[in-house]
């Protein structure tokens, strides 16, 4: 093998902050290379340098196929065969699949040849042998197919190296598998693939090598065959995480939530379970299993057709969010960005959003002092890293945003906390922080439902696990009396 891309001594400074410090990376021709690191480790900066968006500090060496490149521009990088697929995929959802793939054909002013667009798109689709309708509008496609469109577009631009930024973040396990098969296919054709992610255990199986970054420095490049998910986590964070399944313990507390024969046509049917005070219940199922729909029903956003939900013995009647909140149910959504936070608003306003009525005095106005107290209390309690609570929530990292959502709901003093995939898009270190918070909350008597599609997440961090499949509960496990493999098997069955 020979090197397609060679980086030596690459550094980058933003003001006083050193984003990259003397990093060497080599990507071989037709290699699957993983770039691993937590948020802020310098991954994105490295991508920007490779794609010519930002120049490295003087002294760094960057070569493609042995030819040293100076003053790389985005256009030059694309011409050399480097294509970046960003996490947001950068597609035009208002246009067809074919036009997206052939976007590179529209340069300067000339007449459009719809036939050439179609030919380019068909060729790219055929090359990776996927099932994509070139006439479909991208807006009508699910995420996994949109990703294929982005990959086709990279191929249509004659990519020799495809860099994928967080490609698996929004895919189901099955979709990840087909993406990996596709990466394998590209490698066969001599196209190198670089996966950039902080969730790499699934990619490890097919990768050739892994480069780990931490705080802007290269920790090392390793053969993927020798690497495990746990070791990778340690290299990325510099800490070791050793989780063990919880011991069986009597959850002595009273029953907080009782669900009886709950059904909603098309979503789930005949669901019955209880959660006690201080208990953490895991609900695991794939996307489309009805797990999120069930959670939304409990929170009054998706009224059930039949059955009963009772909180501390009192049955819910209206099934709207006001009633759910009134009974002490709090819901932290999977999609914290759209459902949980007002991104442009200050951190402080977001934390107090759900409790403004409680903080208000008799005249209906919220005294500033009481608001400040509440904000300070929750920032300390949850260890949210903020320089100024008046900054917009959007300026925080994923993990800290998730904590702000938690704070917002905990401020309502709930008796039941529903966490829907709370660690999606959050890196390992921040994940650990969230697990610790959940443990502490449960210890104080809060009933928690943790919904996830990651087996280790529920296995190591809950007292009891319910398996959900095709809208039904199909199994129940106690982590202390079963193995991770058993649970995985039940989910995949």
């Amino acid at each position: 093998m020979s090197a397609f891309l060679e980086l030596r001594g690459i550094s980058k400074r933003f003001g006083g902050v050193r984003a990259l410090d003397n990093v060497d990376v080599t990507v071989e021709v037709g290699e699957i290379h993983c770039l691993a690191g937590e948020n802020g480790s310098g991954k994105s900066t490295l991508i920007k340098i490779i794609s010519g968006v930002q120049p490295p500090e003087p002294g760094g060496h960057l070569a493609v196929l042995g030819e040293a490149l100076h003053g790389l521009t985005p256009a030059e990088s694309i011409r050399r065969g480097i294509q970046v697929i960003y996490q947001d995929l950068s597609l035009f959802t208002n246009l067809t699949v074919a036009e997206n793939i052939a976007a590179g054909l529209h340069r300067g002013l000339h007449l459009v040849s719809w036939r050439a667009i179609r030919r380019t798109a068909d060729a790219a689709i055929r090359r990776i042998g996927v099932d994509l309708d070139p006439d479909a509008f991208v807006a009508d496609l699910p995420i996994a197919q949109r990703q294929l469109v982005a990959i086709c577009r990279a191929l249509a631009a004659d990519a020799r190296l495809v860099i994928m930024d967080e490609p698996t973040a929004s895919l189901t396990r099955r979709e990840v598998d087909s993406l990996l098969a596709l990466a394998h296919e590209l490698r066969q054709r001599g196209i190198a693939v670089m996966f950039v992610s902080h969730r790499l255990d699934e990619v490890l199986e097919i990768a050739d090598r892994v480069t780990v970054l931490r705080n802007g420095e290269k920790v090392g490049t390793y053969e993927a065959a020798d690497m495990t998910g746990r070791r990778l986590g340690e290299l990325m964070t510099g800490k070791s995480f050793d989780y063990t399944a919880r011991d069986a313990r009597e959850v002595a507390g009273e029953t907080v939530l009782a669900v009886r024969n709950l059904s909603r046509a098309g979503d789930y049917s005949d669901i019955s379970f209880t959660v006690g005070a201080g208990e953490t219940l895991g609900v695991i199922g794939r996307l489309g299993s009805g797990r999120t729909e069930l959670a939304l029903s409990l929170f009054g956003m998706n009224p059930p057709d039949a059955g009963e939900v009772a909180i501390r013995g009192r049955t819910l009647t209206r099934h709207d969010t006001a009633e759910a909140i009134g009974h002490g149910i709090a819901y932290v959504s999977e999609d914290r960005l759209t459902l949980g936070l007002v991104m442009q608003q200050p951190i402080s306003s977001n934390i107090t959003l759900a409790v403004l009525e409680d903080l208000a005095g008799r005249n209906g106005l919220v005294p500033d002092r009481r608001r400040q107290q509440a904000v300070t209390h929750w920032i300390e309690e949850l260890g949210i890293k903020v320089s100024d609570p008046e900054n917009a929530v959007g300026t925080l990292s994923g993990g800290n945003q998730q904590r702000v959502v938690l704070a917002k709901w905990l401020a309502t003093e709930p008796s039941l906390l529903i966490l829907d995939s709370p660690t999606v898009g959050v890196d390992i270190g921040a994940k650990d922080g969230i697990y610790a918070i959940v443990r502490a909350l449960a210890a104080k008597g809060l009933a928690v439902i943790l919904i996830s599609d990651e087996v280790p997440e529920v296995f190591y961090h809950t007292d009891r696990i319910l398996i959900m499949r095709e809208g039904r509960l199909t199994g129940e496990f106690l982590p202390s009396r079963s193995s991770e493999a058993e649970v995985r098997q039940a989910v995949d069955a």
Binding site: F92, T93, R286, L287
Partner: protein, 349 residues
């Protein structure tokens, strides 16, 4: 809601578009008006309608391109006022001809449009703010310099040009093809060509759909804005000359105030204020619906205040339909996304 008329579009897909519903509504409206008023569905009334709505229609063709790009412009009536005033003053004082008239009218229109683009791109201010400000700047300057004086006694070659009697019926009524009707067809044809047949047009759709992605693919937003707003100005210049000929006079203050009606027609036609969506057919139908309704109400003898009321009501209904349809599509999408995963589990199980 569909953004393009790509060749792959067949009747089945067309039937689900906003344009199709609008077409049905237009045909229905025409049918009702034809039954209610004997004078509505006549060739003469049709030509009259085309002539009197040519100015709005031409501007709609230009504004469509701006909306597709993700921007907005409401200064075009002021640009049109400046273009027609300056062009005709120059022609009258310097005894110029067609070349001078078009060169000045279209040149000023294009230049002022491009000035909007430069301000939007370099100051990075939203286009709505820039165009409100520039509407006032252009219009204020024009009123100051012209003292509000109207222009009469324009040259005969201008007043009488482009008018062909198609034929004269038994009662000696002439049926005329005039500059306004020609201009209307030219503008819609130009917009269609620009949007669907040139690489620039496709980049404009891309820019309106996802500006960040357009930059990453290497499209030059600065240059595209120059084309988009310059084109809007060009169309405003052309429309202003057609309007001056129809009115047989130029008053600096009669055009400003009509910009929101044009915007309403284009939005009624399915163009999205967030960009990336909109078709020439939709814009044509949007203008047609409003024109037929206003004309029909007049023929039925309804007070002109009701016309404004109905204009507003129609726009409200149309835009709500679009919003409702988008919500429905998104809900359908969620089911599509969820279904394959569920089905896969079923197969494996």
């Amino acid at each position: 809601m569909r953004s393009t008329t790509s060749p792959g579009m067949f009747l089945g897909a067309f039937r689900r578009t906003h344009e199709f519903r609008l077409l049905i509504a237009t045909v229905g409206l025409i049918a009702i008006l034809s039954v209610s008023s004997r004078r509505f569905l006549t060739l003469q009334n049709g030509l009259d309608l085309l002539t009197s709505y040519a100015f709005s229609g031409m501007l709609a063709a230009g504004l469509l391109v701006v909306l597709v790009s993700g921007g907005i412009d409401i200064s075009f009536t002021a640009i049109a006022s400046v273009a027609q005033y300056v062009a005709l003053v120059a022609v009258m004082h310097l005894h110029g001809g067609w070349l001078m008239l078009f060169a000045i009218g279209l040149g000023i229109g294009t230049a002022l449009g491009m000035l909007n683009a430069v301000l939007i791109s370099t100051l990075r201010i939203s286009s709505i703010i820039v165009s409100i400000a520039m509407l006032n700047v252009y219009f204020g300057l024009l009123m100051f310099l012209s003292h509000g004086n109207q222009l009469f006694n324009m040259p005969d070659w201008f007043l009488n040009a482009f008018s062909w009697v198609l034929w004269t019926d038994s009662e000696q009524n002439p049926y005329v093809l005039n500059a306004q009707i020609i201009g209307l067809f030219v503008c819609f044809a130009l917009s269609w060509l620009l949007l669907n047949r040139t690489s620039i047009g496709r980049q404009i759709y891309a820019l309106g759909g996802n500006a960040e992605a357009a930059a990453r693919v290497g499209y030059n937003a600065w240059r595209l804005n120059l084309v988009v707003y310059g084109y809007m100005g060009f169309i405003a210049g052309l429309a202003s000359l057609a309007q001056a000929q129809l009115a047989q006079s130029v008053a600096p203050n009669v055009l400003v105030g009509r910009e929101l009606n044009v915007l309403a027609a284009v939005v009624l036609g399915g163009a999205s204020l967030t960009g990336g969506q909109g078709t020439v057919l939709g814009a044509i139908l949007g203008v047609a619906v409003l024109a037929c309704m206003e004309n029909g109400l007049i023929l039925l003898g309804v007070s002109s205040y009701w016309t404004q009321f109905f204009d507003g009501a129609v726009i409200l209904v149309a835009v709500s339909t679009i919003a409702w349809e988008r919500r429905r599509q998104r809900a359908a999408m969620r089911r599509v996304i969820a279904a394959p995963a569920g089905a896969a589990v079923a197969r494996q199980g």
